[in-house]
Symmetry: D2
Subunit: 360 residues, 4 copies
């Protein structure tokens, strides 16, 4: 029954036609000295409970402009019983396709346990198989032994944290033992504000991932300009090693819907690279600025405390890839001043956007 | 290695949330006495060389407004070696989901041979396993023994017919032996005009199928209004039996891009149900018609031989779901006449649209 | 120079073809005893500072599923000097088109003054011309004399209220004199929370309008599912009089992006008509609900104070036109309880969604 | 009644905010020595029978990636009686906006007469007013006196040519008198094959135009990837003079839906700039090519007469911005040969695509 008729297989392959669909580059700026790599470190295929063949994830990643991806199959949950394979297979099957599409493919797995400690991803593994352990502590030990980068997945998931996003004592144990290097601030459609606070307090890396199980288009409507939840990694070079170095030094941003979350020291230069601001006219009564948003991101400005003699917008949205001419009026004889605003969708803390001042 | 940790599996299922996405009904008319069912009798999953899990095909079919579908895995070509299963599995796995979404799921398989005779689908099978045979004639015999409905797939496929769409003597053998009941006129992006001619000459059923291997959104851009290639079945009732009766009596239409192909005796009432035409004003010099296109189809009208004293459009497109007011002028003292046109995208033969006359 | 060659004009009209594009009905529920009419009482054309011909506004309204519209040209600001006409012309020009598209067209004008009192719309006028007055108080008097329905436009517009949304003493004068019947809670992309508070406190009608000047597609991306800002009017009948009666009795809701704002006594039945909720299974351990969202609106649910033995979602989004199966677990021996949540995008006050309880 | 209150006008302008929407560059190649400019020489505004203000046409052109535009108001048909202005006004009103958006704006007018000779556009005028003449011959004389570039509009328009696209003796008169320099091959949704033939036979310039009257989004669905009908001008420099030189030397292509029409000597290098073709592997049995389509155009290849020992596709579509790997098999001992095909949507004559050969 399992025999394959060789001649038929040969027939199918005789005139191979491979078509790569259009790649849509995500347009956000690099920082001085760093390349901004777009990464998704949490995805699934039919090799655990996902619904697509592993190579589909590579083609999706290519089309969406990703640089790096990991197929993090559940170690402990593999409901598709007809698929008989060890824990490394989806990685192995995808390597050739990843290479042909110039994608960085990281070997990873999801340690899938009830709370505490919940689900964790380990990436940069050499072999996923030893992570299959009865006791969860042994799985973490094995991951650490392989020098994996380990992060806590969806800490606010209501199926495991039905009322509050709690930090359990087991998380302290993992954190103090060097088994936790980052936390997901966003996972698919789930946003976890508590994770921002914990990452800032405990010096952990902020991550955004898709945790995609379906064909990607089921969860995201690309025709509406939606994008998968992902991590921007500010890396010294476009390589697995480059990403690892950046992850260890917490140079990441989380890209979730039209929000970016990052540490303030990264967000400030990021915003400044997003826009070109120049003064195009000045009189005694007003100054006129031209502002260009060079990115795919809307930038939502909200006026903050300021001298009311300087008259400008209360709220202003710089839509992606648009050019704006703004006139700021001088009243009561002033000749300049500080134009203060918060960029409310570039978060540097829980519910706190980046503060910015244009000196006029 | 293959053991599954029960507790983790249980955990995942504890608060089940199933979400059915929006179903988009395809808006084309029923005929008097018949319901128009939207059917795709040719699809693949990871159980042969497809790239999605079988249940994904059910959700796709639901979203796209299909009534019936068949997963027709290749019998002789199953490249995903980690999947260990017999030929009935993708059907079995999908039954529950199909039922919950009120889809008619037909058991089918693709007999996958080099040319001649090429690839054929057998649907309405009881058991796909016996179709695995060394000799292709034995596979067809088994399908016939199970009373399958059998049709020739993509006869114009250039990988098997590199220069011309040929009818081989083996096709005569199958046709005369009662092993061929229909032919694909369209398969995915492939259109095969020769199949229209053969179906009309030999009294075979015309079929349109997607032959989808990828997640459906990879091949069709629904945001642009595209739809999968499919078959309209004019059935007495919405059931597997209803579809079978219609297939055997050749009451089908092929829906490919913005073209519909059907026998003339079906196309004429189909067109008349697509539009509402009424006279809203008449003078000695002109008559004014209101025409409503009630369907998702554009209807492309092209003037044919006519009395030139009756002055109307040369080409006119009734876009989907639009209302039109047309004034036809009477010259040289005429008071009426025949407004003749061809509906160029409702094909009743090779390169031949439906001819229609509005008597004024 | 101004002469028109009659023969050419006649030529153009000889075979008239009018095409109405597809109308997209906005799918939100009616209330018991009331029809939900979709209305935009604030738009502009080339007859003031808008950029389209008046009939374009009718076709836009038809396509977007509106029931009623008003062209509220500025009385005091008409920059297009080549257009020589009185203040009633855009209304008059549009009547025939409105009628053919079955739209309710209300005569209106915008009293356009510096702050205070700012801009106000007067609709249900008999003649717009007498509103042209040197003193703004005279314009309001004239509008009242004609029994107009008068509302304050965009009270939070930063060009007139650069730092805070103020209620001036002139507004008290207008309010107390019976010259202000409603306030815009939303105007195009501007949302004014203060207006919600004022409408609730002072028993005024809440309005949402587009204030569109451009071709509508410049400001709204319909391919992304966006809609113009508008007012839902819960009317006893679909007529100008029906709308007037509802406006006077404050039976409106503001539809802005994916937010609806309305008084609580209207919002509660509105929500209950949006969804079908039924219990499909019950055991000692859990109850399963099926919830269908029948509308174009997402419904964003957020758990509120509850018995933690009843285990359900923390946040849950019912996307438009989707069906959901939710299982709520019973722990600690309970057999039922109150499933409490807030519908965070159905606002009944400033930053306050509708509270709802499903008794299990 | 016509007085404007100055203070209100001043108020509106006090904090000017101008926003330019995103420009979508049309990606087609330049030719060696020439820049490909995207041009629309036939549009209307409220100053004749169009439905938008002139500046709207500038913003549309900018967003759609045009380089040059002309507002060609009808001289003889101006139904909007409230607009009191001479024939130059829409050009004058638009100049500032055109300049700020870096668009080349050409002064033009449409001579609008019954057939014969029908409608003609004159562009590169100095003054449109003298074209208002009782006799159409005088209008053409005036245009020629001003050294205008003159072309015949929509010769296949059924309202003027109800049954056949005729060339009247008046067209011979105009052509021989130097009053006709080009013909519209495509006008909006109308395609005129006869115009291709005439342009080739008589050495006239082929043009494609939108003839847009509505807001552009009413006629084109940009979310579906549609574009307005336009002319590609292969110019030595991006300037009004550069375009004029190219028009006079017939270096144009017509861009209509997914079809491009051009003279063969332009189309051949155009196609070669559209694609990158390289051999990536060769054995005794096959050669593998990588083909990249770098443009917004699909390229539809259809095999033509060839040595059947060279086995390749029958039809193949290179979708926009995709990369393809094609393997061509050698049978019967051949080691190479000519891979012949027609690019069916790059027309070089009526119903005739560009023939091309890849030597293997």
């Amino acid at each position: 029954m399992k025999r394959t008729l060789i001649s038929a297989a040969a027939l199918m392959a005789c005139v191979l036609t491979m078509q790569a669909q259009q790649r849509n580059e995500i347009q956000v700026p690099d920082l001085d000295g760093y390349i901004t790599l777009k990464c998704d470190f949490h995805t699934h295929t039919v090799y655990s409970d996902g619904l697509v063949w592993p190579t589909v994830r590579m083609e999706e990643a290519y089309r969406e402009g990703l640089d790096a991806i990991s197929l993090t199959e559940h170690i402990e949950y593999r409901p598709h019983k007809d698929i008989v394979a060890d824990h490394n297979r989806s990685y192995e099957i995808s390597q050739k396709k990843a290479k042909s599409l110039n994608l960085i493919l990281l070997r990873g797995s999801e340690i899938t346990r009830s709370m505490p400690p919940g689900h964790f991803n380990a990436i940069y593994l050499n072999d996923s198989n030893p992570l299959e352990q009865d006791n969860w502590r042994d799985a973490f030990k094995e991951a650490k032994k392989q020098n994996a980068f380990i992060f806590w997945n969806h800490p606010g998931w209501d199926k495991q944290q039905p009322d509050t996003t709690l930090w359990w004592k087991e998380h302290t144990e993992l954190y103090e033992g060097g088994y936790m290097h980052g936390i997901e601030v966003a996972n698919g459609s789930l946003f976890v504000p508590e994770a921002i606070k914990w990452c800032l307090e405990k010096n952990l890396t902020m991550l955004g991932t898709s945790d995609i199980h379906q064909p990607i288009q089921v969860n995201y409507d690309f025709a509406k300009g939606e994008h998968r939840t992902m991590t921007f990694v500010f890396a010294k070079e476009r390589s697995a090693e480059g990403i690892r170095e950046a992850l260890e030094n917490r140079r990441t941003a989380v890209y979730y819907r039209d929000v970016v979350v990052a540490r303030k020291d990264l967000m400030l230069p990021f915003f400044e690279k997003c826009v070109d601001i120049k003064e195009v006219k000045r009189t005694d009564k007003a100054v006129t600025l031209q502002i260009v948003n060079k990115t795919d991101l809307p930038l939502k400005l909200k006026k903050t405390a300021h001298d009311t003699s300087l008259v400008y917008f209360r709220n202003y949205v710089l839509q992606p890839h648009t050019k704006h001419t703004l006139t700021i009026k001088f009243e009561n004889g002033i000749k300049g001043g500080d134009m203060n605003f918060e960029v409310t969708n570039l978060l540097v803390d829980v519910n706190k956007g980046l503060d910015y001042t244009i000196k006029l």
